[in-house]
């Protein structure tokens, strides 16, 4: 160890006895609904964040009550696939062990619960375990949920890619027994336990992997730390184009931080997948910045050392011959709503879920609807990276029944604009501690207003990727959206424009700290020009760059802020 002062979390991890900390003592301390402060960093590795209802903070302070602490738990669901039986359990847990009682689909193909009281954490994790689900490493400085294109149409290719996402997820799990001990009453490990790949301080920061199956880039593969783009030969998966160093998070006002798309590492054969993934992770483990968490993501490591040096290190550590990338093309990023038929003749129904929130509201009983579907469904469910849900693998004979249920409960049947179909938002207020402005609660209304402008200019049928987050950390990947809104303060957002529709170019800020009126006025002018001057089939982001309204971001580090 040098005498450099590391980031505070590094000491917490080092002293945690492989992620145990004092979580168990904290659970026993019933004078508060919170955990001990340091443990709130460790809890992420177990899949949950401590939050509080920020709407109630001031009110409860006056009531001499502590903040209404609760926990957000995110499950680990590689590729977002679960069975109908699992869904029924997931739904039941939401109803019995969370205050919100609903389910939130995330931008990383999993679900999360909000409003879990401390005393319900253990019963909830045990209930998930009973259903063969867990939340290990769903958050924290480790590899998180592995995304995989839920592409049920090219059935075989998807199946192979999906199997790799599971393998990656399993292989890259922490090995500590802490999760089993604390939550599942597992035997206490008394021997000297080690964490072979991660080491006792794990990674410097969170780590995200996605597996994409071209031509669909719904997983936003370039925004991930590590990406695997399926390369196929006659419908058979032969290997992956590997990408490294993508990531969304930035800090307002800090020009040293930036969102970045991944660089091409190169093509690898299938059998080298795990070794290369491990080599990338250990290189980041050793090279990553452990002094300042703002610069600790892999993207800064790749930026600092350069892709060539990084590739050489990965090749050396893995012993794998990394070849130049194969040609691949992405054409879509959204989900294919409605029914599609796979090559194996099974049907798949993709359902739009506004902001991924599965709850009942009058006229739209989405939660009940999925419960009823799950009771009869014989295939599986697939959560998409756009916060939507696919009822997958439906036999021809069962198609009508599934569709009737979806319509009965208002999940299907609403006319969706192309903008809405391509829109996602993070949760933000009132639960997320980082949120500076509304996202999920405000986004639907904002989307209506943008749609009105598009219709006004006669471009209402133009698909545009639009995303909103309440803070610059980028959970909804706003910098990779053609219209990105990043919360700055109550009712105030930075407006980012100029990203590519297919996710291969990020956006640039055109308006800082704007309110709704200012943002809509800005978009209004640009839509007017877009309607008049666009070329055939041209996307909005590309148009803005071509006409020099927005300068293209190419390197991020050099040109995102200038």
């Amino acid at each position: 160890m040098t005498d450099v002062k590391l980031a505070a979390n590094e000491y917490i991890k080092a002293d945690s006895n492989l992620l145990r900390g004092t979580i168990e003592e904290g659970l026993q301390n019933n004078i508060t609904g919170a955990l001990y402060v340091d443990d709130t960093q460790l809890s992420k590795f177990h899949g949950f964040y401590q939050q509080d209802d920020r709407d109630l903070r001031a009110e409860r302070q006056a009531q001499k009550l502590e903040p209404l602490h609760s926990f957000m738990l995110r499950a680990r669901v590689p590729g977002g696939v679960c069975t109908p039986e699992q869904w029924l359990d997931i739904d039941k847990i939401a109803g019995s062990l969370t205050m919100n009682q609903n389910i939130r689909l995330t931008t990383r193909q999993t679900f999360q619960y909000h409003g879990i009281l401390k005393r319900n954490l253990k019963p909830l994790i045990q209930a998930l375990d009973t259903s063969s689900l867990d939340s290990i490493a769903a958050c924290g400085d480790v590899n998180r949920n592995v995304m995989c294109n839920p592409n049920p149409v090219e059935s075989e290719l998807h199946q192979e890619a999906y199997q790799w996402s599971i393998k990656l997820s399993e292989q890259l799990l922490p090995r500590t027994n802490a999760y089993a001990e604390i939550w599942l009453d597992g035997e206490k490990v008394t021997t000297n336990e080690t964490e072979p790949m991660y080491g006792k301080t794990y990674l410097p920061r969170k780590f995200k992997i996605a597996v994409a199956v071209p031509p669909h880039n719904d997983v936003d593969v370039y925004t991930n730390c590590l990406g695997f783009i399926a390369v196929s030969d006659n419908g058979k998966l032969v290997g992956f184009n590997v990408t490294v160093g993508g990531g969304m998070g930035a800090t307002h006002g800090d020009k040293e931080t930036f969102p970045r798309l991944a660089d091409e590492l190169g093509f690898i054969a299938l059998e080298d997948t795990i070794e290369v993934a491990k080599a990338v992770i250990t290189t980041q483990r050793d090279w990553g910045n452990r002094v300042d968490r703002k610069f600790a993501r892999l993207k800064y490591t790749v930026q600092k050392h350069g892709i060539d040096a990084f590739r050489a290190e990965v090749a050396k550590r893995s012993g794998v011959d990394i070849q130049p990338p194969k040609d691949i093309t992405f054409t879509t990023r959204g989900d294919r709503f409605g029914w599609v038929k796979g090559t194996d003749d099974k049907w798949h129904l993709t359902l739009y879920i506004e902001c991924g929130r599965i709850k009942d509201v009058p006229g739209k009983e989405i939660q009940t609807g999925f419960r009823e579907i799950a009771k009869v469904h014989k295939g599986d469910f697939r959560m998409t990276s756009n916060q939507n849900m696919i009822v997958a693998n439906v036999a021809e004979a069962d198609k009508d029944q599934i569709e009737a249920l979806a319509r009965q409960y208002g999940i299907l049947g609403e006319r969706l604009t192309p903008l809405r179909k391509h829109s996602i938002a993070c949760v933000s207020l009132p639960t997320c501690a980082l949120g500076m402005a509304e996202a999920e609660r405000y986004f639907p209304e904002f989307t209506d207003k943008v749609d009105e402008l598009l219709v006004k200019h006669g471009v209402g049928d133009q698909p545009i990727v639009m995303r909103m987050t309440g803070c610059p950390n980028g959970c909804a990947r706003p910098y990779a959206a053609e219209i990105g809104l990043v919360g700055k303060g109550p009712g105030r957002y930075n407006l980012y424009l100029g990203a590519a529709f297919d996710g291969t170019r990020i956006s640039k800020m055109v308006l800082e700290n704007g309110n709704e009126t200012e943002i809509l006025a800005d978009l209004d002018q640009r839509f007017e020009r877009f309607a008049a001057q666009r070329t055939s089939g041209e996307y909005f982001g590309d148009f803005l760059v071509r006409t020099n309204e927005v300068k293209a971001v190419i390197t991020s580090a050099g040109d995102f802020h200038d």
Binding site: N30, I31, L56, Q63, L65, R119
Partner: protein
């Protein structure tokens, strides 16, 4: 009387004194005599000169048994009046009265209240038992009278007073005047009984100048503000301290006592006078077809009936007397019949307020008939939730707002809704302190176990503030419970702070509705039984505050279980153990 008639038989003076007086006055003019008579009167009233030395012909003892302080206050007044009449008075709490002294008494007045289910107040328990026991002496020479304080809405109304009356009579004592059982608006009844009893005693007991041995308590109240002369305290704040999801609205009331000179100690209660809800009064008058502006006489002042009902009459708590009177006033055979069955009547009044009866039987009656049926408003007593060492000239209360729906209508408690809803910041509340010597902290080095679920937490907030400011060496352990952790954890952040700073050493919590089985403080006491017993063995004092109808009994039972189990005792020994704690002031209750 002329000097010629003056002799040692008809005056308290000796023959020698009479001679001296005759010599002195013989030569005086009428003016000089008049002046001297004034001089002598001045000397005798100032009491500064040992002018006379007479032996008292008899002594009056006033004993009181008081839980909340009302009986003590009344006994104080009785003793003060007796003293004014020149009687030799000894005033004492039953708790500190030596039972063997009883056989030497000749004249005794007893003022005693009754707890909820007919039990005596804590300080009366020993004497109450003694009088019924084998060691009770014959009291043939004793003349006595009993004044009972109670609440006629309870089944065992003034039961303790009845017990004292019957037991004294059984021991041969004879009554001076018959026992008087007073309801919650007791002022008029108290005055009537006092005047009658003292009128007779004044004739029986010869006037005596010397008053009271040193052991007797001072009769004078420490503050000029009393129940009858309350202080107008300014409301500083009345925030709700339960969360959004709470079923109960509990308020933290902060009042300013600035410039009042009022002092209080942890354990004391605050009496609060309140106004009734004007909307309720309007509705009531409408049902009875009484004009709100009609003038009535209250305490010999003419005011409108509306003002009288808002300020002077009890309109929320329903008592049996109202039903009986109202039934007569409206001549309702149904209600008259109902009022004749004690049991049916109890059932009827259980969850009704006065307005419910009137809504059910809206009949035009006169204002006089209405006022005859109603009781006078009485102040509500709240355990004080602050310590002066912490809040200086403020006083804090923890008030559960009584609000419920019944018979298709919302209902509110009189005082709590006044404090929570009808008072705005900076408005004034009439208050007075009721001292409660039956709920006092032990010496600083002693440990304390506090059991206070719900608003029972109030005096323990005061205790903790006091122990904190005293830097008391003794440890503090709190048992608290309520419905839900997230919404009903009263004073959570303050308790966290006390815990953090080591003032609160242990806290055990029971949130009854956070799981399928209801868990209450008594369950936690049993769970922690071993340590509880250890603390008691090491001299800890035990306090219970809160609901007396159920909680205090369940906790008492839990304590017996703990003592039996961990002290290896029989049920009788455990009971004995708690009685001993109570008698040594280490087991004190403030229950309601």
């Amino acid at each position: 009387m002329s000097l010629d008639q003056l002799n040692s038989l008809s005056s308290p003076l000796s023959t020698q004194q009479i001679d001296s007086l005759k010599q002195l006055t013989a030569s005086m003019s009428a003016i000089e005599l008049s002046w001297v008579s004034g001089y002598l009167a001045g000397i005798s009233q100032g009491g500064t000169v040992n002018a006379v030395n007479t032996a008292p012909a008899g002594k009056l003892t006033v004993l009181y048994g008081s839980q909340t302080g009302n009986a003590k206050g009344v006994a104080n007044e009785v003793a003060a009046k007796a003293k004014e009449l020149g009687l030799n008075v000894e005033l004492s709490s039953m708790g500190s009265y030596k039972t063997k002294q009883l056989k030497t008494e000749t004249h005794l007045l007893v003022v005693v209240s009754t707890n909820g289910e007919g039990e005596p107040p804590d300080d009366a328990i020993l004497l109450h038992e003694f009088l019924a026991g084998k060691r009770a002496p014959k009291l043939a020479d004793l003349k006595y009278s009993v004044l009972g304080l109670g609440d006629s809405s309870y089944e065992f109304f003034c039961q303790t007073a009845i017990d004292f009356d019957e037991r004294l009579a059984a021991l041969g004592a004879s009554p001076i005047v018959p026992r008087k059982d007073c309801d919650v608006d007791y002022d008029d009844d108290v005055n009537e009984w006092t005047d009658k009893a003292l009128g007779i005693l004044e004739q029986t007991l010869t006037a005596a100048v010397a008053v009271s041995p040193s052991s007797v308590e001072p009769v004078i109240s420490t503050s000029q503000y009393t129940k009858k002369n309350p202080f107008k305290a300014t409301l500083l704040a009345n925030p709700k301290i339960t969360g959004r999801g709470a079923n109960k609205d509990v308020r933290h009331i902060e009042l300013s006592l600035e410039d009042s000179g009022i002092t209080y100690q942890p354990g004391d209660a605050l009496g609060v006078w309140f106004d009734n809800d004007p909307a309720l009064v309007d509705e009531l008058l409408t049902h009875l077809a009484i004009e709100p502006q009609e003038s009535v006489s209250v305490n010999e002042h003419a005011i409108t009936i509306k003002a009288a009902l808002i300020e002077h009459y009890e309109l929320t708590q329903l008592h049996p007397g109202f039903v009986t009177e109202y039934a007569q006033a409206i001549n309702s055979s149904v209600l008259i019949e109902l009022a004749q069955s004690k049991e049916l009547l109890r059932e009827y009044i259980a969850d009704r307020q006065i307005i419910d009866v009137i809504r059910e039987y809206p009949v035009a009656i006169s204002s006089a008939q209405l006022l005859k049926a109603l009781r006078k408003l009485t102040p509500r007593l709240y355990s004080i939730a602050s310590a002066m060492s912490e809040v200086e000239d403020e006083v804090h209360l923890t008030v559960a707002v009584v609000e419920y729906d019944a018979f298709g209508q919302p209902h509110q408690g009189g005082a709590s809704s006044y404090l929570a809803h009808r008072l705005i910041e900076d408005s004034q509340v009439r208050v007075f302190v009721e001292h409660n010597d039956n709920f006092r902290l032990p010496a600083p080095e002693q440990n304390v176990i506090m059991i206070g679920p719900g608003t029972g937490i109030a005096p323990f907030r005061s205790f903790l503030q006091q122990r904190d400011n005293d830097e008391a060496a003794g440890e503090n352990w709190l048992f608290f419970g309520n419905q839900h952790f997230t919404d009903d954890f009263l004073y959570q952040t303050e308790l966290q702070d006390f815990k953090e700073r080591g003032v609160l050493n242990r806290i055990d919590l029971a949130f009854s509705r956070d799981q399928s089985d209801k868990i209450y403080v008594q369950h936690r006491i049993v769970e922690q039984g071993e340590t509880v017993y250890q603390w008691l063995e090491n001299g800890a004092s035990l306090y219970i505050c809160g609901d007396g109808s159920q909680m205090a009994k369940d906790v008492h039972q839990a304590l017996l279980t703990v003592i039996q189990t961990h002290g290896n005792k029989t049920a009788e020994q455990a009971t004995e153990y708690l009685i001993n704690l109570r008698d040594t002031k280490r087991y004190q209750k403030d229950v309601y």
